[in-house]
Structure formats: structure tokens, C-alpha cells
């Protein structure tokens, strides 16, 4: 056999192998997809199942209805809307304010040269090694001490929770922002400066529009992170009407999980929906941002 035919045979067997490979991979894909979406399907089914308990649920509910949703929205002791609104409010404020903080700090780090610049940039990176969750006890004690003098920054205040979240705004995102700004040529700023524009005008009128893609990514990552945060909210907030959705759902689950599984499922789905939509709609941008920055937290 010549080398030529050997190579052709090799190619032929390779193509057969390839087809088999694709088939196997399709089977694996189906198994993985089942693994991935089964819990979600199960919760959708639970939320539509009128019997509403954990034990009686089947995958295709008999006589599906929206009873669980109605019960959820009418339940007095579990004010779903209040929790949902609290979560949306807190996440929006944190996302917007930290965007301002990040953008302005990123601008300063990228455009000015000052003495402590390098130390500060490295310091921010080092501090990020210890996420706020770790110093939980100290944060709790600190807020309770401040609250003894200023009750509006004390325990059970959403304002103090927001401040604590914002304490993490000068984080790894500063690096992301600065890196992005560094790619925008400084000649743009300088020509504007010659025209007599101030730094503030250059920043707001010129750079912000150019920064829009990275700003959206950072805002969304912050929004999702704040929306899903549990432990600080659990520790700092004390009363039913102040809870975020995550705290509320956890408490709901602790109280009447088995009997009211259907109602919980309805709440879980409605709570998860906004974030799922954001994720799936903006997949590519978010993934890019996440893999550069931190792990989901």
C-alpha cells in the first residue's frame, strides 16, 4: 500500500469515527441538559400543581392552575411583593451608585498620575482577597454600634445594608474599568482640553458614551450579585417588611417547606425570573465580564 491510500483510509475511518463521535456527544448533551433543567422543570410543575405539597407532586401536574401564585401574592405573613420590591430597590441603588464610584475612580486611575496611584491599585486588589462575607461578625457589631448613635445606619435598616454593599464598590471592577479606559487614546481627552473642556466635561460628555459597553457589564454583574446576596442581608435585617427576597424565601422555606412547596415554588420562580432573563439575554457580555473578574458570589 502506498502512503497515499493509507492516508485516504485514515481519513475515511476518521470521518466514520467523527459521525459516531457526534452521535455519542448528542446523547451526552441530552443527558446533561436533563440534569441541568430538570430541577427548573420540576419547580415549574410544582408551582402549577394545585395540591401544593411536596409529597403529592408529579412532573406533569394534574389539573394545572395558578392557585399557588394567587396564594403567594395574598399571603399576609409572607409579603412576597414587599420582599421582591426591596430586592429590586436595593440592587438597583447599589448597581447605579457603585457604577458611578467605579467609573470615576477608573477615570482617575487611568488619566491622572499621582504619587500613591500604584500602591492604591495594588491595595484594592489585596483587599478584594477578603470578601465582605468573611468579616461578617465585625460588620454586624460595627453597624449595631453606629446604630446606637445614628439609628438610620443601624441594624434592621436597608440603608446600612446598602452602605455595606457599596463598601465593596471599589473592587476588582476598578481594574476592569481602568483597563478599558486605558484602551481609549488620551489624544481624545487632550484635544478636548485644548478646546477648553474641564476634566468633568471630558469624563461625562466624551468618555461615558465610549464606556457604555463596560458600564453595562459592570452594572449587571453588580445587580445580579446584590440581588442574590444572602448572608449580610440575613444578619443585618431583622423585620419581615425589610427583608430582601433571598432572606424572605429562606425563612419561608424554613417555616412551611413541605406543606407549602407549591407556593414556595411559585415564589422561587418569580424571584429567579428577572435574573434568568438578564442572563440569557446578555449571555456573551456577562460571561466575558465574569471570567475576567471574580467568581459568582
Amino acid at each position: 500500500m502506498s502512503d497515499e491510500t493509507k492516508y485516504q483510509q485514515f481519513r475515511k475511518s476518521q470521518s466514520a469515527q467523527r459521525k459516531l463521535g457526534i452521535f455519542i456527544r448528542e446523547v451526552i448533551a441530552v443527558i446533561l441538559i436533563v440534569f441541568s433543567i430538570f430541577p427548573i422543570l420540576w419547580v415549574i410543575s410544582a408551582s402549577l400543581s394545585p395540591t401544593g405539597t411536596l409529597a403529592t407532586q408529579t412532573l406533569i401536574p394534574r389539573n394545572p392552575s395558578f392557585d399557588n401564585y394567587r396564594t403567594l401574592l395574598e399571603a399576609e405573613q409572607f409579603p412576597f411583593w414587599t420582599w421582591f420590591f426591596n430586592s429590586i430597590k436595593i440592587s438597583t441603588i447599589v448597581a447605579v451608585v457603585s457604577l458611578f464610584i467605579t467609573a470615576m475612580a477608573g477615570y482617575a486611575f487611568s488619566r491622572f498620575r499621582f504619587r500613591s496611584r500604584q500602591t492604591m491599585l495594588k491595595g484594592i486588589m489585596l483587599i478584594n482577597v477578603f470578601p465582605g462575607l468573611l468579616a461578617l461578625v465585625a460588620t454586624f457589631l460595627m453597624i449595631s454600634q453606629i446604630g446606637d448613635v445614628l439609628p438610620f445606619i443601624g441594624l434592621d435598616q436597608q440603608f446600612s445594608l446598602i452602605l455595606v454593599y457599596l463598601g465593596g464598590a471599589m473592587g476588582i471592577n476598578i481594574w476592569l474599568m481602568k483597563g478599558y479606559l486605558d484602551t481609549i487614546p488620551r489624544e481624545i481627552d487632550e484635544s478636548a482640553m485644548v478646546e477648553g473642556a474641564s476634566n468633568w466635561q471630558i469624563f461625562t460628555k466624551l468618555l461615558i458614551p465610549l464606556l457604555r459597553p463596560i458600564l453595562i457589564v459592570i452594572a449587571i454583574i453588580n445587580y445580579i450579585g446584590t440581588y442574590g446576596e444572602f448572608v449580610l442581608a440575613r444578619v443585618l435585617l431583622r423585620s419581615n417588611e425589610n427583608y430582601t427576597l433571598m432572606v424572605g424565601l429562606q425563612i419561608f422555606a424554613g417555616a412551611q417547606f413541605q406543606q407549602r412547596w407549591g407556593v414556595f415554588a411559585a415564589g422561587a420562580l418569580m424571584g429567579a425570573l428577572p435574573i434568568m432573563i438578564i442572563y440569557l439575554a446578555l449571555q456573551d457580555q456577562i460571561v466575558g465580564g465574569l471570567t475576567q473578574g471574580a467568581v459568582k458570589g
Partner: protein, 530 residues
């Protein structure tokens, strides 16, 4: 070029700012400083010295930034810096401080607050200035006293109000009788001496307010109360004025030589005792070894399993011609899009023994299902399973990203050399991939090392380890144990010990990060980029 821009920047601020904004800025700064100063005084009065020091430093810095021209760039980030200093950096230092104290049950307030409470206690001395008294009672059951001192001056005393010296006609005082005692007081009825002497309530009431209080000592006499304790700063002790007993400060409680202590106790430094407890307390050693071992095992196996599955999927579907690639990815990413807390709760429901779908299915097929929540090994297995579901999409995403960046030429060359797919994977894909995602893997290890949400929400660290001095479970990790110590309240909170364990977590996380920087040369990269 750089320096030109900077010069422009500083020139801008120096000359072109008109007078009005500058005055406005100064006014705002003064207002802020006044407020902060008031706040500092209040903090000092409560004995919150570490917090007061932090505010002092941070707001001095704000003043410098606003006033000094060369700090102009920092004005762009001053709010972010203040928030970071207060709510991220200060808690780290405060943790260190708390870990060196007995902050916790019985020692929940500062020494200053405890001393204020103790020094506020009064007693009725056997001697001292006395008054004769007449009692009045309102229909609502409130009492008032009319006091007459040795010189014959009359005083009106009510609980919680300063003692006054009104004349007839003022404050509802009616005509005086021949002894100089008002016949009527508006809103009150005068009690006859016999009723008053037998009224049980009357002798318990302290009339007047802080500073001067008067209590009835006998049917004929009332006297001013005096402080029961006097503080002797020389020996750091409270001295009981009635009995002469000396209560010295013993680790946060004023205690007498016979072992009687004054409530409340207060936060006191106890050095490294919390750390000593962690390392050598015999009662804690068993559970601690258990906890730390599981903590590392959990983080390690989570990383291994999640990364393995994520990588396998990424490699399998790396083929750009694979049908429906984009759709498959979107479906596989779904677990990642649901907030983790919600997912964990859903899994809790699905694994519920007897009732959950998974347990029911296993029951139907095998006639048996594992005790997911009450058996420690099954609980650990379930946690790893849930974590796999939660995190493999992340690894899939980062691995497929990294795979794109590996040059196709390498595989062509390997094919020509006759390398098998497994060899290609071992010798080309894996090493290059690890270089790319290495830092993210280490970050993920650190994240799982402190994955509080999963542990706490899935099974609250349970099943519990029997016979531990403070509640701990077989699936507890350090951070969830810290939470139990500080917030569960089952056997009283212990912030000091919780903070000490936090410090140990800090050290572990710090060491892992140090390794990360060393191993990946990330720091050098960082230094080049700044």
C-alpha cells in the same frame, strides 16, 4: 504628555474655580466636620473607641483630599474610598480587635457603658440630710411628695422630674396648712399619714431625677439617695459604699474577693485566649479537626469535580461544526442563571426524604433512599452534587473560552506525529488550559472554601456533631461555624471566638492567594499593568 495633562488639571482647579462654588465647598466641608465631630463625641461617650478612631482617621483624610490641591485625583474617588475604608477595611481591623476580647454573652457592652450603669446605682444612706414628707396620690396611681427640710423650706418631688421649690399657686400647689404643707395639689389627693405609712409602693419609689433623687426611709423621714459604688481608677475597682466591699476588674466583670460579681459585665481584652481555645481546648479539638478537614475536602473535591465536568463538556463540544451548539450552551448555562440560594432550596425540596422526587424515585426503584440530611456521608455527597449542578456551567464557560485561544496548529502537528486524542488532550490541551484558567481555579477554591450559602441553606451544617461545647455539624465549614457562634444564639453568642476563627480563615485565604500570585506570576502582571 502625562505631565502636561496633570498640569492642566491642577491649573484648572487652582485658578478657574469661581469664588461662589469654593465657598459652597467650604461650607459643606464645615457642615460635614461638625456632624462628624458630634458623632465622634457620641461614640466616645459610649466607649466605642475603635470605631471613633476609624472615623477620625477617615474623615481627616477626606479633609486633606478636599483641601489639598495635589490630592485632586483622589477627589474623583473619595466617596468610594470612604465607603471602602469604613465597610471593608475597618471590619478587618475590628475583627482583629474583637478576637482579642471576650466580646459575647455576659460581656456585650463597653466598659464605659457598664461603669455608667453601675455608677448610676444608688442607696439610701443611714445619715445625711433628711426631710419630713407628705404623700399625694393621683387617681391614675402616680405619686408626689411634699418635702420640708430642717429650715422649713418646702419642695415638690415627682418621679422622673427635677425637684422643684414652687410657691402656692404655682404648679397646681394649693394653700399651705399651718405646717407649711399644701392642702391640695392639682390632680393629686393628699394621703393621710397612716395610709401613706402602710402604702407598700411608696417606699420603693425614687423621687426626682438623675442627679438628685430622694427616697422615703421611715414614716417620718425621707433622704437623698447617694451613689452605691465609687470607682477607684488606681486599682481599677468598684468600691461598695454601703459594705466597703472592693470589686476589682477581673476579665470584664467587677468581682469581689469572695467571687461575687457585679452585673453587667463588659468587653475586656483577654489576649490570645480565643486562639488558644481553638488550638488546644480538649472539648473543641475533636469537632475542630472534623470541621477543618471537611472544609478543605469540600473545597478541593468541589473544585475537582466541577472543573472536570466543565472541562469535559467544553472539550466535547469544542467542535464549531457541532449541530445546535449555541442552543445546547444556552440550556446548559441555565443552572448558573438562577440565584444560588433559590437553587439550593429547590434541591433541598427534591432531596427531601420520603417526600422529595429524587428520594421517592429511588424508593420506587430500589426500595431504599439515602438519608440525605441526617447521615453525614450522604449529606456531604448531596452537598457536592448540588454544588456540581451550581458551578459546572461556570467552568464550562471559562474552559471553552480558554480552548478557543489554543492554537489549532498544535493539534495539526500532533496529528501528523500520530498522537492519539488522549495524548493530545494530556500533552497539549490540559497544560495550556491550566495556564489560562489557573488563577480562576484558585479563586474558585477560595470561594468554595467560604461557600456559606450552600452549607447553611442546604442543611444548616447538619447533621449535628453530638456533644460539642458549641453547636457544630458534620457539614459545617469554618465560616458557617462562625455564623453559628455569633448569631445562632443556641448557647449564647461568642463574638470574640467567632472573630478569632475569622482571623484563621483570613490567614488561610491569604496564604492561598499568596500561592496564587506566586504560582501564576499574577502579581508581576499586575505590576506591569498599573
Amino acid at each position: 504628555m502625562t505631565s502636561k495633562a496633570d498640569r492642566n488639571a491642577s491649573k484648572d482647579t487652582a485658578s478657574s474655580i469661581p469664588v461662589l462654588p469654593r465657598i459652597l465647598k467650604l461650607a459643606l466641608l464645615i457642615a460635614m466636620d461638625t456632624f462628624v465631630l458630634w458623632f465622634l463625641i457620641k461614640l466616645g461617650a459610649l466607649g466605642y473607641y475603635p470605631l471613633a478612631a476609624a472615623f477620625l482617621i477617615i474623615f481627616s483624610f477626606v479633609n486633606i483630599v478636599v483641601l489639598r490641591k495635589e490630592a485632586y485625583p483622589l477627589r474623583w474617588m473619595v466617596i468610594g474610598l470612604v465607603l471602602m475604608a469604613l465597610f471593608t477595611i475597618y471590619p478587618i481591623f475590628f475583627t482583629v480587635w474583637v478576637s482579642s476580647t471576650n466580646y459575647g454573652e455576659g460581656h456585650l457592652i463597653t466598659k464605659k457603658q457598664a461603669m455608667d450603669q453601675i455608677l448610676g446605682r444608688k442607696y439610701l444612706p443611714p445619715e445625711g440630710e433628711t426631710y419630713s414628707w407628705t404623700a399625694y396620690k393621683s387617681p391614675e396611681g402616680d405619686y408626689a411628695l411634699w418635702l420640708v427640710d430642717a429650715e422649713g423650706n418646702g419642695f415638690l418631688a415627682k418621679p422622673g422630674e427635677p425637684i422643684a421649690q414652687p410657691k402656692p399657686g404655682e404648679a397646681g400647689i394649693g394653700e399651705l396648712d399651718e405646717k407649711g404643707i399644701p392642702i391640695t395639689i392639682e390632680g393629686y389627693e393628699r394621703l393621710n399619714p397612716f395610709t401613706a405609712a402602710t402604702d407598700q409602693n411608696l417606699t420603693q419609689i425614687q423621687f426626682g431625677e438623675e442627679g438628685k433623687t430622694i427616697q422615703i426611709r421611715s414614716p417620718s423621714e425621707a433622704a437623698e439617695l447617694v451613689p452605691l459604688y465609687v470607682y477607684d481608677s488606681g486599682q481599677d475597682a468598684m468600691i461598695d459604699q454601703q459594705t466597703g466591699v472592693v470589686y476589682t476588674n477581673l476579665r470584664g466583670t467587677f468581682t469581689s474577693s469572695s467571687g461575687v460579681s457585679l452585673r453587667p459585665g463588659f468587653i475586656a481584652p483577654i489576649g490570645l485566649n480565643n486562639f488558644r481555645n481553638f488550638f488546644i481546648s480538649p472539648a473543641l479539638r475533636g469537632p475542630m479537626v472534623e470541621l477543618v478537614t471537611w472544609n478543605f475536602a469540600f473545597a478541593f473535591f468541589s473544585l475537582l469535580i466541577n472543573f472536570a465536568l466543565g472541562l469535559a463538556i467544553a472539550v466535547l463540544f469544542n467542535d464549531p461544526k457541532f449541530p445546535l451548539k449555541k442552543t445546547i450552551r444556552s440550556l446548559l448555562i441555565i443552572p448558573y442563571t438562577v440565584p444560588a440560594l433559590i437553587t439550593i432550596l429547590i434541591w433541598r425540596g427534591m432531596l427531601n426524604p420520603q417526600l422529595g422526587i429524587i428520594s421517592r424515585t429511588l424508593e420506587n426503584i430500589f426500595g431504599w433512599s439515602p438519608a440525605w440530611f441526617s447521615d453525614q456521608w450522604w449529606a456531604k455527597f448531596a452537598i457536592l452534587l448540588v454544588n456540581l449542578w451550581l458551578s459546572y456551567p461556570y467552568f464550562m464557560l471559562i474552559c471553552s473560552g480558554a480552548l478557543q485561544s489554543i492554537s489549532k496548529d498544535l493539534y495539526e502537528a500532533a496529528l501528523v506525529d500520530g498522537a492519539s486524542s488522549w495524548q493530545q488532550f494530556r500533552k497539549i490541551t490540559l497544560p495550556l488550559l491550566l495556564v489560562a484558567v489557573g488563577p480562576l481555579l484558585i479563586a474558585s477554591f477560595t470561594f468554595n472554601f467560604n461557600n456559606f450559602n450552600l452549607i447553611f441553606i442546604f442543611n444548616a451544617g447538619g447533621p449535628p456533631i453530638p456533644g460539642t461545647p458549641t453547636p457544630a455539624g458534620y457539614t459545617d465549614i469554618l465560616i458557617s461555624y462562625v455564623y453559628n457562634l455569633a448569631f445562632s444564639g443556641a448557647r449564647g453568642v461568642d463574638y470574640g471566638f467567632a472573630a478569632a476563627i475569622t482571623i484563621i480563615i483570613f490567614i488561610i485565604v491569604g496564604l492561598i492567594t499568596l500561592f496564587q500570585y506566586r504560582y501564576t506570576r499574577m502579581w508581576e502582571e499586575v505590576s506591569q499593568n498599573v
